[in-house]
């Protein structure tokens, strides 16, 4: 009788540590680079613009979250009518998504700001209305363009998410006697958002990266502040490097926050 041969137990490959020798060398090189940047470049302008930069970051974040939230609320009906809606409505939603996703955001932004802005100015009715003080400013146009763009991209995601909710769950809800509205509110929407969450995170990061465009229509976000610094100090690289660092941190924070959110939602392991 021979011993039954057993396969050697599976050993997981060693996780790559942060402190492998080559990584320590790379980090050292990186540290030297950072030191050179700090030491040899001009940063004396930084204290003068500290508060303005903080306001700029705030403006960027306000723009990001307000457009993402309102855009998402628009995206839900856009996605829904494409799955269940009557033909004309779903056709309309599809056309909207195709047009917005098929043209550059910068063009849409300029069309709203220069085009619509100049059109509004021609009508005395609009000029005398209570809205005019707002319509004369730039941010409503920036907000609208970013919101519409987010709604179109997210509407496409939500369409897939609504279509992907298993039919059995919806049928079970119907069998419980839920009304259509209750079914949507309790089952369909939460499950669709759950499915769309990873994509939603990615889209929000993309939205953050789209916000500096509004600086081209004179909304002063963090990019606008940095452009101002560049005009004032005639420096090319320093402000841009700082700007890249700021966006890097914002992206990192956003991803980290979404990961916390995702971990809070219980998911049954596949």
């Amino acid at each position: 009788m021979s011993e039954p041969t057993t396969l050697p137990a599976y050993t997981a490959p060693r996780p790559r540590s942060l402190f492998e020798p080559h990584r320590i060398v790379l980090m050292a090189i990186f540290a030297v680079l950072v030191f050179c940047v700090v030491w040899f470049m001009r940063w004396d302008w930084l204290p003068n613009y500290g508060t303005r930069l903080a306001y700029g970051v705030g403006e960027t974040l306000i723009m990001l979250f307000s457009t993402a939230i309102v855009g998402f609320m628009l995206a839900v009906p856009i996605g829904l009518v494409q799955v269940t809606g009557p033909r004309p409505l779903s056709w309309l939603a599809l056309t909207f998504c195709t047009i917005i996703r098929g043209t550059p955001l910068l063009l849409q932004l300029w069309m709203l700001y220069y085009g619509l802005g100049s059109l509004f100015a021609q009508y005395p009715e609009i000029r005398q209305s209570f809205l005019w003080p707002y319509l004369r400013q730039a941010w409503p146009y920036g907000f609208t363009a970013l919101m519409i763009s987010f709604a179109a991209y997210e509407g496409e995601v939500m369409r897939g998410a609504f279509a992907g909710v298993p039919r059995g769950e919806l049928e079970a809800a119907e069998a419980f006697g839920m009304s259509r509205f209750k079914l949507f509110w309790r089952i369909w929407l939460p499950r669709a958002i759950h499915r769309a969450l990873p994509t939603l995170n990615g889209e929000t990061v993309l939205q953050l990266k789209a916000t500096p465009l509004i600086a081209t229509i004179t909304v002063v976000d963090v990019y606008g502040v940095i452009s101002r610094v560049r005009q004032d100090t005639f420096l090319t690289y320093e402000p841009l490097l700082l700007l890249a660092l700021i966006y890097l941190c914002l992206t990192g924070l956003l991803i980290w926050g979404f990961r916390l959110l995702e971990n809070r939602i219980p998911t049954r392991g596949a």
Partner: protein
């Protein structure tokens, strides 16, 4: 009366000099060149980057990781400004060192470089995922035939991963066409900037922006048609999933 007014309004789009149609057409061709050039460069960087990430040594892998992470975390607009200035600066200093004196770098070349570097990071990720989706047995079989690693790449890995990469690549092409508009902020005369100039000097803002929008839309619609054909061809002989 109204017809005549509409006529003169639309004649702003005429191709001959009083109209701005010709200028916009030139801008559109510049945009096309940027998109094709940048996309092509991005594909090359992507293939190299994916191979580096999958088969390279530890140092190369980490450097590639830094490259893709940085590029994907910073807004395209900021990257383009940085790369545009840094790239042209570095190149002109290099040429000066080599003894060519001061050389003006072609704006188109700089624009293609900028878009290519940005696209390369995304393409790296697309190709990496696609190469990993190729069944390992096919690559092992190719090695067993005695092919060199470059031959394996050219004959087996790249053709076999293409159907997996195409959806991502198609998406990237759409992003590339829309990224060309960002170069308007740097001052490169592509379609969007030219449109704004035409609109500004004629005060017919809506007309020109709508026209440019229609051009972009036609471009993306034609692209998606062509992409569908390519996908159909690349997927021939594969079993249909889902």
């Amino acid at each position: 009366m109204v017809a005549a007014a509409t006529q003169s309004y639309l004649s702003l789009l005429a191709l001959e000099p009083p109209g701005w149609g010709g200028v916009m057409l030139v801008g559109f061709i510049q945009s096309l060149k940027l998109a094709f050039g940048g996309y092509g460069l991005g594909l090359l960087i992507g293939i190299g980057g994916a191979c580096g990430k999958l088969y390279g040594g530890p140092v190369l892998r980490d450097l590639m990781e830094v490259y893709t992470t940085l590029i994907r975390a910073i807004p395209e607009l900021v990257l383009m400004l940085l790369l545009y200035y840094a790239g042209t600066d570095a190149l002109s200093q290099l040429l000066a060192l080599a003894g060519y004196g001061s050389v003006d770098i072609n704006a188109l070349t700089a624009g293609i470089f900028v878009i290519g570097v940005v696209q390369g990071a995304y393409a790296t990720e697309v190709f990496r995922g696609a190469i990993k989706a190729v069944p390992i047995g096919q690559i092992e079989a190719a090695r067993a035939y005695g092919m060199s690693s470059f031959q394996v790449l050219r004959r087996v890995t790249l053709p076999a991963m293409l159907p997996h990469a195409l959806p991502g690549l198609a998406n990237l092409w759409m992003v590339a066409t829309k990224d060309t508009a960002l170069l308007a902020v740097i001052g490169f005369s592509e379609l969007t900037l030219v449109t704004r100039q035409a609109a500004g000097s004629t005060k017919a803002y809506m007309l020109f922006f709508l026209a440019a929008g229609a051009i972009y839309l036609a471009w993306t619609l034609v692209s998606s048609l062509v992409i569908r054909l390519i996908e159909k061809r690349a997927r021939r002989g594969l079993t249909r999933t889902a």
